[in-house]
């Protein structure tokens, strides 16, 4: 599969301090690349470098088959982006903003603006000045602007910030639709992992300016371990039955939350449940659980911090 975007040892330093160091990321054609990391990790800095707003201190960027230089203007025609916050000419209306955008992009499809507004579900606001928009509406308008010209690569910095749960869901569907129907490659940053998990094909984790992991969602899913979670008041009794009665040793007791996590999977869930009930343990709930991306991510980041601290 070909790559739409690659960076090689991308580094940006401000006054000798590296904000982004040696980031080498690879985004394949047609995929949704989830770019996750805590606040201040360097997500926006990387995205600004990709859109040529700031220049790398060292390293290279290759976008749509071309090396990005300070004078790469043509390639920008094939990209759409929101960087940091959705910014508009506030006094102009939504429609005027999009019209300006299309003019500057050299894109003259009369229906594009209406279609884009429909896609992000912004209705009856075309004639309203953008300064009266809420953050969620601006976010939608920003996405409408980025997709109006049907770019090949979309770079969206925190696009679901400021949206309500319904809005988040709508946009999630929109992103998946853009990816599958139009074949648009997307780089989406977020610190909301649950969302990324649902749409991304590949996850890049950045922390302290370093890309600590770049992994496909499939690989993450493969790595995940499932476990059973038992909620009960009789922790000791339950533990006794598990250990002596069922000969299960790989479990953990979380006393504070009244939980037992059972990692051993040689017995079916129903057998364990039966044994517990027969043994007189009052089972409040007994569920199958799996590690989420969040757990994986936190482990990565905390691991990173621990390493930093031990230095």
């Amino acid at each position: 599969m070909t790559h739409i975007l690659r960076t090689y040892q991308l580094t940006k330093s401000y006054r000798g301090k590296e904000a982004v160091s040696n980031v080498s990321m690879n985004i394949r054609k047609g995929e949704i690349y989830g770019f996750v990391g805590p606040n201040g990790a360097g997500k926006t800095t990387v995205m600004k470098m990709l859109t040529n707003l700031i220049k790398p201190t060292s390293g290279e960027i290759e976008i749509l088959g071309e090396r990005l230089t300070p004078t790469s203007y043509e390639v920008l025609k094939r990209m759409g982006s929101i960087i940091e916050n959705p910014i508009f000419y506030d006094r102009l209306t939504a429609r005027e903003n999009l019209e300006l955008h299309c003019e500057y992009m050299g894109f003259y499809n009369r229906n594009a603006i209406r279609e884009a507004l429909e896609l992000v579900n912004l209705k009856n606001v075309e004639r309203k000045p953008v300064k009266h928009f809420s953050l969620g509406m601006k976010q939608r308008l920003g996405i409408a602007r980025a997709i109006a010209t049907k770019p090949e690569l979309l770079i969206l910095d925190e696009p679901i910030n400021g949206l309500d749960p319904v809005g988040i869901r709508e946009l999630r569907d929109l992103f998946v639709m853009l990816s599958t129907q139009y074949g648009i490659t997307m780089l989406i940053s977020s610190h909301i992992l649950g969302e990324m998990e649902q749409i991304a094909n590949t996850i890049g984790v950045i922390q302290g300016g370093k890309l600590v992991e770049e992994v496909s969602m499939e690989a993450i899913r493969g790595r995940q371990t499932e476990y059973l979670e038992l909620t009960t008041r009789d922790l000791t009794k339950a533990a006794f039955i598990l250990e002596k009665g069922l000969n299960i040793r790989n479990f953990r007791i979380l006393e504070d939350s009244g939980l037992i996590r059972i990692y051993e999977r040689k017995l079916p869930q129903s057998d364990i449940a039966k044994a517990l009930i027969v043994g007189g343990v009052s089972v409040e709930s007994f569920n199958k659980k799996s590690h989420t991306l969040e757990d994986y991510f936190l482990k990565l980041i905390q691991g990173g911090e621990a390493r930093e601290a031990s230095r």
Binding site: L53, L100, H101
Partner: protein, 226 residues
């Protein structure tokens, strides 16, 4: 370039410039008449003198006004970050910047000339009706005044770009406007027309500096982070 200028004007309306033009013309006209009609010592010795007073008032006004335009078209775009939208377009950034500065220069130059001509003509008409002084307006004077006007207007348009240097350092609107006021005052303060600005070499030299400021601002635009 024409297209870019048109798009800039869509974003930033020039209606304010029209108001400024009307109000500035009336104010300068009124001020000159007020000075001319003050009793006591004679305010103006003749047309040449009166026209030079009109000229420096006009220049000072539009040097400051140009800084307002610079703030709106350039500095404010950086401050509100809208420049980041502009710079993600597949258009040469130098051209984008040039379009902005061309608008500022064209508006400033045209308004300096128009205001000068209008107020001078108004003053001539007034003086013929209710004489402040008895001086004859010769063709020679009109011709030399016209030439002087164009040179000064061009020089002042150029030097009106100097505040861009101060404004762009910290992307500050106040810095832009305050520096323009300082320049306008330095050039046009003085008595009886003996100002720095009336020594033609001074505004012309500053005009060249202003154009250099614009040139370097445009040249830097591709290499500076926004």
């Amino acid at each position: 370039m024409k297209h870019l200028v048109k798009l800039e004007l869509k974003k930033h309306s020039l209606r304010g410039a029209l108001y400024t033009f009307v109000i500035a013309s009336l104010a300068i006209f009124g001020f000159v008449l007020m000075v001319g009609n003050t009793d006591g010592e004679e305010a103006f010795t003749g047309y040449a003198n009166a026209f030079s007073v009109i000229e420096f008032l006009t220049n000072a006004t539009y040097v400051v006004f140009a800084s307002v335009l610079l703030s709106r078209f350039v500095v404010e775009e950086y401050r509100s970050n809208t420049i980041t939208i502009l710079f993600t377009y597949p258009i040469n950034r130098k051209k984008l910047m040039l379009a902005k500065l061309l608008i500022v220069c064209a508006v400033t130059f045209v308004l300096i000339v128009l205001t000068n001509v209008l107020v001078s003509a108004g003053f001539y008409w007034y003086n013929e009706q209710w004489p402040i002084f008895t001086d004859e307006l010769t063709n020679e004077l009109v011709a030399s005044q016209a030439l002087r006007l164009v040179v000064h207007a061009a020089a002042n348009t150029g030097l009106a770009l100097i505040p861009l240097y101060f404004g762009m350092r910290k992307k500050s609107v106040p810095a832009t406007i305050v520096s323009s006021i300082i320049i306008a005052v330095l050039l046009n303060a003085g008595n009886n027309g003996s100002t720095l600005g009336s020594i033609i070499a001074v505004p012309v030299a500053l005009g060249v500096i202003g154009i250099l400021v614009a040139y370097f601002t445009i040249r830097r635009v591709e290499h500076v982070d926004v």
